[in-house]
């Protein structure tokens, strides 16, 4: 059952990603992207990361995609149907680069579960014990507010800087 739902969600995610790359209208691409993000949220649920699945739907599929849609509507690009795929040498170079990348990534994946380094870490049993003990939110919150507190505060400052910067950049008269 787990495997079947994984493959359904994976197919939806890949189809959505291909749709983003190939669809002519930016709004269509955006809707495919929402589908991809929702499928990835489903895969997060299958991987026992329920908190991140919720964040993925609320922040990514909710906030960020609405921001993209808002900009597309603001700039009136919704019906830009001109073909904008690169042709000729550039496209072939792109496929070469992408193929090489795929080869390198596929090579990394061989026998990943048998690698002896995984014995040093808790493993699925340890993670299941942690989740049963604390719940997913508690398991994330404890290190977030103890070991990684400085990074958490810095991310808050980063968001403030991005907010001010976005307003300053998009303002009408500079």
């Amino acid at each position: 059952m787990l495997e079947v739902s994984f493959f359904v969600l994976a197919t939806m995610a890949l189809g959505g990603a291909i749709g983003v790359v190939l669809h002519r209208s930016p709004v269509g691409s955006l809707l495919f992207m929402v589908g991809t993000l929702a499928s990835i949220a489903g895969i997060f649920v299958l991987l026992e990361a329920h908190f991140l699945a919720a964040i993925q739907v609320i922040v990514y599929a909710g906030a960020i995609m609405v921001l993209f849609l808002f900009v597309i509507m603001l700039l009136n690009l919704g019906h830009a149907h001109e073909a904008d795929l690169r042709k000729g040498v550039g496209a072939f170079a792109a496929f070469g680069v992408v193929g090489a990348l795929a080869g390198v990534l596929a090579r990394q994946l061989r026998g990943v579960e048998q690698n002896p380094i995984y014995r040093l870490f808790p493993g699925p049993e340890g993670m299941d014990r942690l989740l049963a003990e604390r719940g997913i939110v508690g398991a994330i919150a404890t290190p977030l507010f103890t070991d990684y507190l400085v990074a958490f505060e810095l991310v808050g400052i980063l968001l403030l800087v991005a907010l001010v910067g976005a307003v300053a950049l998009a303002k009408k008269s500079v």
């Binding site: 930016p26 991140l52 993209f68 830009a80 699925p124």
Partner: protein, 97 residues
């Protein structure tokens, strides 16, 4: 499940890279970068099943930075559109040799 999730992550990353390379609409290029970020998030989550909860914390931070990046990037696209009346990346050739 780990190997399948990592394979899916690699495929999504490659599709995102392909989109960045072959599309000329700046907003679609941004969307493809978001696909790549999501592919990396997926491999973090898959590996966190084996290596501990820190992988999920990293994904949390990556999502925050992605939100900031999207806001600033879209603001830049808006201000470029005001100047050039287009979002075609090949028209932004002021610094081109």
């Amino acid at each position: 499940m780990l190997a399948e999730a990592l394979t899916l992550s690699a495929l999504l990353f490659v599709i995102g890279a392909l989109g960045v390379l072959i599309r000329r609409n700046a907003i679609i290029v941004f969307l493809c970068i978001e696909i790549q970020l999501n592919a990396v998030n997926l491999s973090f989550v898959a590996l966190s099943r084996y290596l501990g909860i820190e992988g999920q914390l990293f994904v949390f931070f990556v999502m925050t930075v992605a939100a900031a990046e999207a806001a600033v990037g879209l603001a830049i696209i808006i201000s470029i559109f005001r100047h050039y009346e287009t979002v075609h990346v090949e028209r932004f050739n002021l610094l081109k040799w």
